[in-house]
Symmetry: D2
């Protein structure tokens, strides 16, 4: 059901790979709520993905972009404004990739060239995006940007590896830009810290199932799905959350403030 929360709003959505992606659900929901937007992803991800189906469904154009390239990102912003007919009102940044995880390097044995690439793709890309928007004055007043993050930025989840560090950096960049962009242009910058989600990316992480079940047991409402995450993104893009900025918003069924569940304690009773 639509509430017309984003009627007439213009956006850019990063990271829709396939129908398991959170970004895919966000696109569907933004479309339902009356927004128009462009879709973007890494050129390589798009070759593997089903993004055309989504684009048709949402009547959206696709603009491939490497998030580590200034040229690609400038092109993305310019084209999006041209296609959508004006400044951008909202952006979803759902981008992350760990080269060390992909190469099987443990946290105690990181390759630092890989790590810098991970940070560039997963965190600095948010800075780059906002810098280019800022310099082009491409975001409307009270515009809202959201990046997806994970609680490993606050506490150690060993299999999350260097991605934890990337997410900490991402959240710091969120505060930094939230301050400067808010002060200058009233643009809002936040992260949403989502439950472990059975996306194509998420499921690939080692030990994902045990971890997913643990998080589910430790969350009074259970793990949040990508559908509910999409709803929450819509709220954060809407005009009804105008004064929320520089925040990391936990969307996790209560996981973040649960110290232990009874089910967990019972497993440790000898």
């Amino acid at each position: 059901m639509s509430h017309n929360l984003l009627k007439g709003k213009k956006g850019i959505i990063f990271g829709a790979l396939d129908s398991n992606s959170i970004a895919w659900k966000v696109a569907e929901r933004c479309h339902e709520e009356g927004a128009v937007f462009t879709l973007t992803n890494a050129p390589i991800a798009m070759r593997m993905g089903a993004i055309n189906t989504l684009a048709e469904k949402c009547n959206a154009q696709i603009i491939p972009a490497d998030v580590t390239s200034d040229t690609d990102m400038e092109n993305l912003i310019d084209k999006s404004m041209e296609i959508l007919g004006g400044k951008i009102d909202f952006i979803l940044h759902s981008v992350g990739m760990s080269l060390n995880i992909r190469k099987g390097k443990h946290y105690t044995d990181l390759d630092y060239e890989f790590m810098k690439k991970t940070l560039d793709i997963s965190a600095i890309s948010y800075h780059r995006l906002l810098k280019i928007c800022y310099q082009k004055d491409a975001i409307s007043e009270w515009g809202s940007t959201v990046a997806l993050t994970y609680i490993a930025a606050q506490r150690v989840f060993p299999d999350y590896n260097e991605m934890a560090d990337a997410k900490s950096l991402l959240e710091s960049i969120t505060r930094g830009w939230g301050f400067h962009y808010g002060k200058a242009k009233k643009v809002r910058v936040n992260t949403i810290s989502q439950s472990p989600t059975k996306t194509t990316a998420g499921s690939g992480v080692k030990g994902f199932d045990g971890f997913f079940n643990y998080a589910d047991s430790m969350s009074p409402l259970g793990n949040a799905t990508s559908d509910s995450c999409a709803d929450y993104c819509v709220l954060m893009f809407s005009d009804l959350s105008k004064m929320v900025t520089m925040q990391n918003l936990f969307h996790d069924g209560g996981f973040s403030f649960t110290g232990v569940s009874q089910e967990t304690v019972e497993k440790f009773n000898s």
Copy 2:
């Protein structure tokens, strides 16, 4: 403009004193968004207040209740369900009063009987409310309750006095009930931590103006108004934030993550 975010939802709103109250704005916005609700306040506050005007405007009935009385609170819940025709979907708890502040007692000279009364009114009341609802099974699945709080629960604002302690207690109770009520009945329990607001209550605090200006300067988007707070409450009551619970949500224009503003630094340049 209405988005029908609360269409058919039933609620209880505590704390509307006059048109400067955040609760007043919340009532107006919930009404616009399609909710029906009852209004409540302390019997004494109602004698002073203009709440009848609000009740008429929102087509709501008023049920006086002393938040420290089990009998009154039980009556409030029973009557509300009777009037609204079923279980409650949302509750706003906007209740706080400091006897030590009122009596001019400094934080270093608190009267502990006053303090216990302050805690009872301002924090334990949220526990009492949720306990009675829980025992009567009075809240719908996925129902949502919000209490208003302030960042003095995390950091010291000297003039906020013992109210800081009351807000810490309130936020802890929020986590406790969020866990238990979520687990048992999928009810959500959160707080919203609002900018200093020029309500009749807020303005009474000593040194309020300097403090208000400071917070405004330290918030990249400026202080959040009670109107925008009402919008945010609507979002938290809606079905689009279903997996958010046990959280303290800063609604403050970015104050909470700003360490210093340039304006502030300049005042300290000699």
Copy 3:
């Protein structure tokens, strides 16, 4: 081995019940490090306890005091200064008792008269203590007070019940007094948030063993013992931590920043 870290310092130690108490270990270590101090506990606790043995060992006098009584607390401060020959340099507050737990009342069914008593004993007592010291100017410049707390103040541990709320209140009081006493007299006020500890009090909590094992598995260094906690208290009382105040210091082998351990994840692999 002594480092003479507290040579010539005068203190008051609350809460030594028997040789399993953290406060007992703190007293032993303070004695080793050259401090003189008085011991105090509730009159009723002392009748059950072995505190005389400790007093002899440490050459300390015992002053019974009900922490909820102004008269008792004033007597404690006056007598301590008289016995020790001057102002107090350090205080350990290791005091907590939950009437609702003792009476078997679940968090969802609290008795509020019990709760207020719990808050009075476990949290307001720290305020009362500091207020009386402040008004008598009983603590030396750079004096240091520590109260013991637990991470349930930040996250929900269901069996910890209302004690979580009491600890949140305690930590807020710590910040409040840390501000005011620091500003006025350079006195430091902190809490130490200790691992679950097999004290006579701690072990009594329902489900303690499973919980203890869980915390041990989730702490990279394992649970901290009361001996190591005593060492840490000595550091916080010493002159080498002079600029640390208003803090909640986790002493927990890393539990507080561990999201999950591999052992825990494995238990959730189906």
Copy 4:
């Protein structure tokens, strides 16, 4: 006065540039407390610095090392063990440099090659150091490492620029290594978050004086000096803080938990 807290301990101290450096004070205090150690700094920093004076005073050898070079860091660890005659017990990481600040690039106009260099020097260097130690098994059981950080990792201080992001990354790395190194070898990894300090590096930051005064006004005990920071480092290196790991320890006179001071509010009274 020495307490022999580090008697017989072997360490490595990074970052002593001149007598205003925190690392310089740490070296002096570690020497007093009975430790032996090597000193290291970037080759270029050493050419400018007065480190030889310190080395003589502490009877320490100097090993130049570029923290971004594996070869240099391996050499540093190997040589230090050789010189000191065994495994390392403590390390101070006081390393940070922002190329964007140096080049006058504002946060809204960062150069990302500079930023990656900043992250490499200021944050990844701590990972590299610990990785090399881990792989060489170069740190004793219960060994302790401390990196210096700043509260800009949590809240925005605009002039701190990208260094805030570097410090967030550093603190995340601290948690990651604290977990893995603690689990495997009982090595502790922490950061100390220090008040603004009038070091040669600190003073260079734009607007430093106003900022220093502001922090001083907002800290009930005033800003912590580098001398007191050195004392606190000694405590964290000692055996008396054995169960403290993965923590960010504020050493700031109470700044971190002060929301506002009366002096600050007064400046905002119109």
